[in-house]
Symmetry: C2
Subunit: 98 residues, 2 copies
């Protein structure tokens, strides 16, 4: 299991609309093959900086399966208009669990 | 509840020793007032980039309580020698939960 980490800068004033869009898009992720959950955080120090964490069975489930699906286009259609710039994407493996 | 996020660049070749140091330091966090868990991730794309996520009841539990405790000094004594540069710290609030 790995986490997709997406760092998203949101256009000032559109934070509430962005969170609503992620809520609307959440079922698209949860229905995708290999997806095991989604969390959205907001930075307290940098309030336009959001981080989306999506848990996948494999990197391929995200980068091949999801990215090439209609659900990805729908996710970008919902959330993309609120992005201040292209988001930064990484994948994380857990070394020490909670 | 909030998450402390620490982005840590580890000196090349010291990744295994760093993870061992965080494992050793984990009880220091878990014993601290207001601490509810700790997770360490490693970036797949940037293998010297680790992220420590510590769950606290409040930002003050981290920035005042923990930072001024002996446990913080012990944490830095264990993990600090492996830092390639000063870590970046933010605090995150959860907007959408898993």
């Amino acid at each position: 299991m790995i986490d997709e980490l997406v760092e998203i800068r949101v256009i000032a004033g559109q934070e509430t609309a962005f969170v609503a869009a992620v809520k609307q898009a959440k079922p698209l992720f949860l229905a995708a093959k290999g997806c095991h959950g989604l969390r959205l955080t907001r930075s307290i120090e940098v309030p336009d900086l959001f981080r989306l964490l999506v848990r996948w069975e494999t990197v391929e489930d995200h980068m091949v399966g999801f990215r090439n699906s209609d659900a990805f286009g729908e996710w970008r259609r919902l959330a993309g208009p609120h992005f201040a710039k292209p988001p930064h994407v990484e994948h994380l493996e857990t070394m020490i669990a909670e």
